[in-house]
Each structure stands twice: as C-alpha cells, then as structure tokens.
Amino acid sequence: MASEEPDDILRMRGITKTFPGVMALQDVNLSVRRGEIHAICGENGAGKSTLMKVLSGVYPHGSYDGEIVFDGEPCAFSGIRDSEHRGIVIIHQELALCPQLSIAENIFLGNEQATRGLVDWNRTNYEAEKLLARVGLRERAVTPVLDIGVGKQQLVEIAKALSKRVKLLILDEPTAALNDADSAHLLDLLRGLREQGITCVIISHKLNEIAEIADSLTILRDGRTIETLDMRAGDVTEERIISGMVGRDLEHRFPPHESRVGEEALRIEDWTVHSPTQPDRVVVAGANLVLRRGEIVGLAGLMGAGRTELAMSVFGRSYGVNISGRLIKDGAPIEARNVSDAISHGIAYATEDRKRYGLNLIEDIKRNVSAARLGKLARRRSFLGGWVDDNEEYRVAEGFRRSLNIKAPTVASITGKLSGGNQQKVVLSKWIFTDPDVLILDEPTRGIDVGAKYEIYTIINQLADEGKAILVISSELPELLGICDRIYALSAGRITGEVTRAEATQERLMQFMTQATHEQEQPA
C-alpha cells in the first residue's frame, strides 16, 4: 500500500463528507509523497473540489468523517487560516486577488509586513520583488494587479503562497484560463518548485498537461477514489486516464461526423474592431471569414488574439468601438447594431463564461431557455412586449430537457445548481430556441467533464446536420481538430491561416497562431 510509505507528506484516509441529500465524498483516500507533483482527476462533481476544501479547512474538522495526517501529525483544521499556518495553501480557479491593490499588497494581504502595527512599505515591496523573482514574474511589485494579465495574476497567487512558507501547494484548474505560453511557463514553475522541495497537488481537466508534469495521479469518480497511478514511467495514456474517470472506455473523444456543407450563410468581410478602452488600439484587423450551412468551422488563437472580441463585435457590436467591415448574410448585406438585431438576423452567440455572461443563475431552466427570444412565446405583442404563455414556455423547455438530455428533475430547477455540462446545455437550448442560422460557440466545453463534452459535440454535429453554420472558438486544439471541418487561426487580431480538417495539425495551427506575435511575447 502506497499509504504506508514513510515519505508521505499527506495522508487522507476514509474521508466522507455529506451535504443534505448528497454524499459528496465517500471513504476517499489520498496519499501524496513529499516533493512530488500529484494530480487529481475526475469529472465535474466527482468530488475533487470538496476534497480540497476538506483538506484546507474550508469545511472544518467535525463536518466530515475520516482522518488527515499532514507532515506526520494529525490535523483538525477549523478554518483556512489553520491549514495555511501548517503550510497548506490552496489557489482557487477563480483567483482571489484584489484588482485595485498592488502586486505586493496582494501578496502580503492578511500577512502584512508591519512593524508596531504600521505597514513597512519598503520591506513589503522588497520581499515581494524577491518572491516575484522566484516565480519568474518580471513586473514591479507596486503595479496594480488589474494591469497584468490572468497568467501573471496566477503567478502572483503562487508568490503569495510562497510568502506563507508553503509546503503543500494546491492548484485548482490553474491553466483553465491561460493560453498555451502562459500554461507552459506555469508548468515549468511547478517543476522548479518541486526541485525546491515544495509538494504540489494539481486539479486539472487538461490531461496532456497532467501526463507531462505529474508524478502520480489519483482519479476520483462519484465521490470515491478509483485509483492512484504512478506517472513517472510515462506509460499512462490519456485514454487510460479518461477510462478511469468516466468508468467506461470512451473509444473516441469525438463523435464521428460527416458534414454536408451547403450554401454560404455568413460572410464577414474586412472586419476591424478597436478596443473600447484604448480606441487607437486595433483588436481585430481586417478579418475575413466565411461560414457555410452545415459546416463546423473552428477559430483558433491564443488568449488575447481577439477571438472573443471578433465574435462579440459581430454579434450586435457587443464589443469594441469604431467597428468597420461588412456582414453578408445569405448573400445580402446586413446591419446588426445591437444584440436583438443580430438575433433577428439569425445570429446566435454562446459566451465563453456561461456563469457570468450566459445564464441567469437564480432563475430556473425554462426562464433561461426562453430569455433570448421571449417574444416568440408572447401573445398580443403590442402592449408591454406582449404576454408570455408560460405553459408554452414549459413545453418548449421540457422539449429541450429531453432532446439535449439536461440532467435536472424538472425545467423548474434553478440553473445555478446544475453542473457545468448541464448549464452549457441550457445555454445551447436558449440559442437554439432563437432559430439561428449561424451559431457562434465560444469555448463550448470549457470546464465541463469528458462525458458531457462528448454530448456537447454530438449536439454541435446535429445542429450542423440541420443546416446551421457553426463557428467554434476553442483554446483546446485537439477539440478543434476533432470536430471542425475547417479552422481559421487568429493571431494578434489577424486571420493568419485557414486549414481544412485534412491538412490541420496542432503544429501547423500553432505556427499560424503565433505568427507575428513573437515581438509582443518578449518581455519589455
């Protein structure tokens, strides 16, 4: 048994955690060797985050069963301060930084470098710069956090953890919001920390990263430990991990699909968009795209390349200023000055961040499904926009719940309580309900588990088969290669390449995606 080895820094045994009506963790065991990078994998809802919250004291001792031994001593944390005191630091997926404060202030937040009750700013900034050097972040300590990108903010979080003399660093989906270059830097940094003797636990959906960096891997499924794999030999394949996570062999991660490409649906010509905050900065520069009915087109690009900005500016000018260019829908030029224009022209856009921009989380499924085209359910449209037939609304939502397999007891269930994959299905239902000809899907599978991804791909294929033109924006190149008929690459606001499915490889796309951006990537 691995758990009997003496060099384990952490042993969690028989952890059981129940919420009213749900058993979130059931007799979970986790052993982490000192100085290793230990990955935790599992579908959404498998219990990863709950386990980490138990470990870090977010769920205090006594609210769960089982025992935790850290560094040879049993633990009974009553809060997150206790666990941090012992050297366990968790970095959440949603970064917990105050954007208005400087990097140094954030690093020492709650741990201020003070003498006799007054903050010693010289020492604060000096210590912060030392920590920044350790994580390889070339920024001044007095820079406000809002002025640096997400990737760098992640590094600030790690610097903050280091300032607390961290022994066990827990990272929850650290690369989910990062582009490939930033992800690579972060993984390098974790390797460096390993050499300094810091143990890392990393929760990630990105299996290729896990294969690359992890020394061992524990798989959770349905609140139970399934297995712990030794990754150092390098013979554990992604397929092997996936089969452990889903409990079945997922022969193909992508459903087979043959597109029947039809007429041109939307042509975007010479599309140029400027930043709303810096109107002289060009975010999208003269982009040309063609979307055809029945075809699934991909849009690849690094973070900051302008993918979302391109999509949102097309979708009723939801982003940007001084937008120029032409939109030609079914052969005729159209103007989409606002979102409702765009919707009535048959364009739909499902946002990359469904919780913040896509759903009304406090409302139920049916009201979210109808939200973008409520008028379709209304009678006597003249007064106050008409009167909604809520029985029809129920019937429509119920239809989507069945056809898209939204896992919820009824369509009166609150969307905020659904899992990520089911929330995404609600978002898709909402846009399908608007009867679009062109569907732009921005990161349609971000943060959702493997099984649900497969379902989303199937839905996308069906939509294409119904003759809709689909544009998929994704940071995951294998996903684009797996589902798209044709892929555009975007770099620094320019379309730098267009490849068909047959020609496309990750390397080729990456080449296009990094074209002309090298100068910008160099630190000043």
Binding site: T351, I362, K376, N391, E392, G416
Partner: protein, 417 residues
C-alpha cells in the same frame, strides 16, 4: 434523425403529445420557505397583535384605518419592488411624493383647474421626474443610489420652493374622497345576524373577488395539467385558495360593517392585479427579472437593458405622483415635509416581502405583504400605547430579521451567487 430543436412554439402541439410526468408526486408537496415564510410571518404578527390588543386590531374601523393610512406606502412599494428586482434602488420616492403633492395643490387649489385635468398633469409631472432620474441611471450609467440621493434633495428643495414654509389646501372634494372616502352604499345594508348590518355592494365585491381568484387559479391549474406539469395535489391547491379567500372575505365583511369599501382599496387592488400580471406574464416584466438576475447575460440575450431600466424609473415616478396626490388629499393639504422617509418604508416593505438585495428576485404581492406587516406593527403597537421610538425599534429589527432569514434560507438551499 429527429430534430434537435423541439417543435416550434408557433405551431401548437396537441398537448397530449407531451407524455405527462407523474401528475402528483407526493414529494412535490412543497413548502417553499423563502416564498411562503412571509405569509406565515404576517399571519403570526396579526394573531400576536390581535391577542395583545384584545381584538381591537381586527375591529372594522381599525382595519379600514390600516388600509387607508398605509395606501400610499403600498403604492410606492409596488414601484419600488420593480426597481429593486432590476437591481437598483430609489431614495427619492418620498421627495417625489412631496413635490407632486405640491404640484397638484398648485393646480387644484391655486389655479382652480378641474381636478381630473390637474391629476393628469401631476401624473405626467411624476413621469417626467422618473424619466429624468431614469435617464441618468440607464443611459448615463450613474448608480441609482447616487442619482436618487440627489433626487431626494433636489425634489425636496423644489417642494420647498413651491410651497415655502406652509401647506396649500384645501383639496377638492373628489380628491379627498379618493384618498379618504368610501364607496356609497347604493344597494343599502343587509343584516348579518350578530355582526349587525353590512353594506351589500362591499359584500358583493368580496364574493366576486373570491370567485375570480378561485376561477383563475383553477384555470391555471388545469392548463398546467394539460401540459403535463407537476401541480400541487388537490387538497393543498384547495387550501391555497381557501386560506386567502377566507382572509379576503373576513376583511371585506369587516369593511362592510364599518363604512364601506375605501376608494383607495379599489385603486390599490387594481394596481396589485395589474402589476402582478405585468411582472409574471408581460415580456417587459420578465425582462426586469432578467436584468436584475444577470445584467450581462440579459444584455447578451438581446434584452434592451437601458430601456427597461429607464421605464421602471418612469413607472416609479407615476406611482409616486399617485401616492403624492392621495397623501395630500388625505391631509387635505400639500405640506413641505410630506412624504419624509416614505422611500425607506417602501424599501423596507420590498425587502421584508422577500426581495433580494442583489436583485432578480421579488414579487408585487410580497412587497404588499411586507408593507402590511409594517402597517400592522405600527398600528398594533400604537393601539397598545407603545411610544413611537419603540415602534421604530421594532420595525428596524423586523427588517433586519426578514433579510437575515432570506439570506439564511438561500444559504441553506445552496444558491450561491
């Protein structure tokens, strides 16, 4: 392959094509503490003060007083709940009540305009005031807290400019009747045994109202059943109609025994029904919830967020003008301090009635119930001779408790935002 999109909403599908789920699952015997708690609390408070006042609370004249004395707050609460659902706030309502009351007084008393015309002009003035504030909030992007704080000062200042330090009155009889008066007993009285005589029209109105409630609820229920939705089991359904019906009838009988139906109650009932329909069924009303629930998602769903925000402030101005005229008519003069702190009562009513601080949640009937809770506390405590500072203390604690309860149930249910 079957189409992924369910049948188009435009083509009516025979409802029996939807395989109905189990029609009455006992598990759905649901008591939603967040929504029902307020009504239970209201009932308990009424019982408490009935006991404390030896039944004086429920005497015919006292019930009539509670309604007439609080009608303007309840009207403001209707406008306020819409604003709060959208995630905003209005601190200027009391000052708008004052300034519109002053405008109506100038028109009716000083200029001797016919009262319907004066009333119309006052309402238009209220709408313009609302449009002014709505413009800054919706199109200029200034938080409503700031805009209406400014409005609170500005419109109070305008009131003082118009009125100086004295009130204007008296108001025409018609306006006083609207605020203070009762419907005439055209059909005479009928004896109710030990309860004495009661007005026939009032009783008829009550019976028709109860019948209408029952009929519309029944029709809603059968339509839902046809669509295969889960509904309350029949006994619970009957209870849910019977309980409010009994309350309505009891109130109506007491009113019929006193003078009659107050005109403001008729107005209030019409507003409650109209605005309940608006919030539940109208596309505009549903957009208010969408805006308050998630502003960005509403924007990206094609909801005209700015226009929705603008119009709920216009609406607030109109309702404040109506309240302003009623309040002035009730006192028979428009005074410089009229409406002071009314906005706070209206805001408290909305939050006691279950509105969420972050927006997106709330009901017109809830706000009315919240307003009535405060009204009963006010009235009941003064009946037992409690000093006003103690009344204020209790009202403050009730507001805090109501919102704390809301936050607590939300946490328990696990809706994190």
């Amino acid at each position: 392959m079957t189409s992924i999109a369910p049948t188009d909403a435009g083509s009516p599908l025979p409802p029996d094509e939807v395989p109905p789920p189990p029609r009455r699952s006992p598990r759905r015997f649901s008591f939603n503490p967040r929504q029902s708690g307020i009504y239970v609390a209201f009932a308990l408070i009424v019982v408490l003060f009935t006991v404390l006042t030896d039944g004086a609370l429920l005497q015919p004249q006292n019930i009539s007083n509670i309604i007439v004395q609080n009608s303007y707050i309840l009207i403001l609460a209707i406008g306020m709940i819409l604003i709060i659902i959208a995630g905003h706030i209005d601190l200027s309502a009391g000052s708008v009540v004052a300034v519109t009351g002053a405008i109506s007084a100038v028109l009716m008393v000083d200029l001797q305009l016919p009262w319907p015309l004066a009333l119309l002009i006052t309402i238009v003035a209220g709408a313009l005031i609302g449009a002014f504030q709505g413009y800054w909030v919706a199109f200029f992007g200034i938080p409503a807290f700031i805009v209406t704080l400014a409005g609170m000062l500005v419109f109070r200042a305008l009131t003082l400019t118009v009125l100086g330090n004295q009130g204007i009155g008296p108001f025409p009889d018609a306006v006083r009747t609207l605020s203070n008066g009762f419907i005439e007993g055209y059909l005479g009285n009928v004896g109710l045994g030990p309860l004495g005589g009661a007005d026939v029209i009032t009783l008829l109105v009550g019976i028709v109202a109860v019948g209408a409630i029952a009929l519309s609820q029944w029709r809603t229920r059968s339509a839902r059943l046809r669509y295969g939705q889960t509904v309350d089991p029949l006994p619970l359904f009957v209870l849910k109609i019977a309980a409010p019906s009994v309350v309505v009838l009891a109130v109506i009988i007491q009113l019929a025994r006193f003078k009659n139906l107050p005109w403001v109650l008729v107005l209030l009932a019409a507003l409650v029904i109209g605005y309940t329909l608006l919030t539940n069924r109208a596309v505009f009303g549903r957009h208010i919830y969408a805006v308050g629930g998630n502003l960005q998602a509403a924007t990206l769903s094609g909801v005209k967020v700015r226009s929705v925000t603008f119009w709920i402030f216009v609406n607030m101005g109109v309702l404040a003008a109506i309240a302003g005229v009623i309040f002035a008519g009730r006192l028979n003069q428009a005074g410089p301090t009229a409406g002071t702190a009314f906005e706070l009562d209206a805001i408290a009513a909305a939050f006691i009635g279950g509105a969420a601080v972050q927006g997106g949640v709330g009901k017109v009937v809830g706000a009315i119930t919240g307003g009535l809770i405060m009204a009963v506390i006010n009235n009941g405590m003064s009946l037992i001779g409690a000093p006003s500072e103690r009344v204020m203390l209790v009202k403050g604690l009730v507001l805090l408790a109501a919102v704390a309860y809301d936050v607590w149930t939300k946490r328990r249910v696990g809706i994190a935002r």
